[in-house]
């Protein structure tokens, strides 16, 4: 029986949602190739994590009680050893910041290809076909490879695995070369705090790269004032230092679910969409009809924000 090995993600005592989605993706791929689904959970309170990962379709959960938090050296060495022992055809990890910090090294050491940020997967036993986006989500591509591979999956693309499985839970004792551990985590810091919590807002006026210049933000503040709404933004605005980090919507910022989300000059990169697609009503104002934001918007105005925004503000004055 061949194997699919999925490596769970957790941080500061909590399994991350994508870990359960990983089980669904891993089970489907295991079915494609007639394999068992093995799940590894490395470092931290693994005995607490293991029963949570024992959901429908999981054959074995391997617990690796080594260290507390993510250490990419420990993850790399352990995953390589476990994949080798299981003769895993596919190693699956989340396409998270930590996933991208060790999955490429695992592929390099196993001498197999890596395909990242996948949104759909199928295999005929030898050939893997993976769907992923290119050009900032403008197109979807299918890439193929044959033989074993390391694959990272995008969050929120597969449903979370449910139910309670009857997996074997067993400890795996890796042989860690401690001299080779050259990166040490010394702490964590929350950086998106401050006076405003955009995740509490009912109405968000959110601004992106299309605003062009810092001075133009005044248009956005004027609109937000007129609507009694809160200003948020996509990443480039915060990167430029025009708004503080606590205003950033998206994967590395806040996840928001307002009643109304007005995306102004925001193209809708996947990292941004991850933070706002749960909004009840999404309105996009954008000149680009092919911008990914248009795919998730309920209402759209395909026009210049510098014309539409002042006109909208005027409607409420």
């Amino acid at each position: 029986m061949s194997a699919v090995l999925a490596v769970a993600d957790h941080r500061r005592g909590e399994l991350r949602d994508v870990s359960y989605e990983l089980l669904t993706a891993g089970r489907a791929l295991a079915d494609d190739v007639g394999a068992d689904l093995h799940v590894a959970v490395i470092s931290g309170t693994v005995d607490d994590f293991a029963p949570k990962l024992d959901r429908d379709g999981v054959d074995t959960v391997h617990t690796v009680d080594y260290g507390e938090e993510f250490d990419h050296g420990v993850y790399t060495q352990t995953t390589v050893q476990l994949a080798t022992e299981l003769e895993a055809q596919y190693v699956l990890t989340p396409n998270s910041v930590n996933g991208l910090d060790y999955a490429p090294a695992v592929a390099s050491r196993l001498d197999v290809p890596i395909v990242t940020d996948t949104v759909a997967l199928e295999s005929d036993g030898d050939e893997l076909r993976a769907t992923r986006e290119m050009y900032g989500g403008k197109v979807e591509t299918t890439v193929s490879l044959s033989g074993p591979a390391v694959v990272t999956i995008r969050g929120a693309e597969w449903p979370a695995a449910e139910g309670t499985g009857d997996a074997t839970i067993e400890a795996f004792d890796p042989d860690i070369d401690e001299d080779a551990l050259g990166a040490t985590v010394t702490g964590f810091e929350e950086v998106a705090g401050g006076d405003v919590d955009i995740s509490d807002a009912d109405v968000l006026v959110s601004v992106g790269r299309g605003i062009d210049e810092e001075e133009n933000l005044e248009l956005i503040h004027d609109l937000a004032d007129a609507l009694d709404a809160t200003v948020s933004s996509s990443r480039p605005i915060v990167d430029s230092g025009w708004l503080p980090k606590n205003r950033q919507v998206g994967q590395s910022g806040k996840v928001v679910t307002p009643d109304v989300y007005i995306a102004i000059g925001i193209s809708g990169a996947v990292q941004h969409v991850a933070g706002m697609k749960g909004s009840e009503t999404i309105v996009a104002i954008n000149t680009d009809p092919n911008a990914p934001i248009m795919d998730i918007a309920d209402y759209a105005i395909q026009d210049d924000l510098f014309d539409v925004v002042p006109a909208l503000t005027e409607q409420f004055q």
């Binding site: 490429p104 290809p113 964590f188 109405v203 980090k245 910022g253 092919n290 210049d304 909208l312």
Partner: protein, 263 residues
């Protein structure tokens, strides 16, 4: 300290485009310096200005056409550039991270930098895996998605912050030599000055082929094949309001009032 910055010329796509076979038709494509690499270059230049780096070298895998992009990078401060190209690469699919890393690893072996600063990902194919793969291939330490780098390297260690999801940063000490993949927002990339642009034209740009790097072109094959390309299907039935700005703004205002906004 010597810093190597892998610089990628990315393919850009116009708003409206057509797909022909497994590619976007040439007439809709452009080229630019990868956005993430701009931040990696800026970080290297700031380290040099702080007296912590002696030399900054860029390396680019690409044909003649990308020399303009390389000069654009040099105009921001790096000292010299290496461009790797070979006829054997013309047909290879550079989606394969392993293939790219193998080439970059040969350059790292030759240049022996203390620090490699790469972008987190390239803006076109967005694999986000080359930096860490390269690090493992050359036996360097690494850190992915770095949004702060302390400008001192006491005990041959780089103190970095990694940008995790949800507004959390991880503080990590990374032993040198290392590859750091640089996230946007780590600094404020400068515009090239006119003087910088003039100087860039005279900076050394060395072209190497696979044989120069000791790589056997016969063994070089992309493990990944691009099979299909399509425009993604829309997930919602979007209502697009037509008309001039006053008309569309009025439609939106009606919707917002209906939703109880500003009432």
């Amino acid at each position: 300290m010597k810093i190597l910055v892998p610089v990628t010329e990315v393919t850009t796509v116009e708003d409206e485009f057509e797909i022909e076979g497994t590619a976007i038709a040439d007439r809709y494509l452009g080229a630019d310096l990868n956005e993430w690499d701009e931040y990696a270059i800026e970080e290297a230049v700031q380290l040099q200005e702080a007296g912590l780096a002696d030399e900054i070298v860029t390396v680019t895998i690409g044909p003649d056409d990308c020399e303009q992009t390389i000069r654009q990078a040099l105009a921001k401060g790096p000292d010299r550039a290496i461009r790797v190209w070979d006829d054997a690469l013309a047909d290879a699919d550079l989606l394969d991270v392993g293939l790219k890393s193998q080439i970059l690893a040969a350059v790292v072996d030759a240049e022996e930098p203390d620090l490699v600063l790469s972008g987190v990902q390239s803006g076109d194919d967005s694999f986000g895996a080359t930096g860490v793969t390269l690090a493992d291939a050359v036996g360097y330490e690494w850190a992915a998605v770095v949004n702060h780098l302390a400008h001192d390297f006491d005990d041959d260690t780089a103190s970095v912050r990694r940008e995790l999801e949800g507004g959390v940063e991880e503080l990590t000490d990374v032993e040198l030599p290392a590859v750091l993949t640089i996230q946007t927002g780590i600094n404020e990339p400068r515009y090239a000055s006119l003087r910088g642009i003039r100087q860039a034209q005279r900076k050394p740009l060395e072209v190497q082929d696979l044989a120069d790097l000791g790589i056997d072109a016969d063994g070089l094959e992309s493990a990944l094949t691009l099979e299909e390309m399509a425009e993604p299907e829309s997930e919602t039935d979007v209502t697009v309001w037509e008309g001039d700005a006053d008309e569309t703004a009025a439609e939106l205002a009606d919707l917002l009032r209906e939703k109880g906004v500003a009432q």
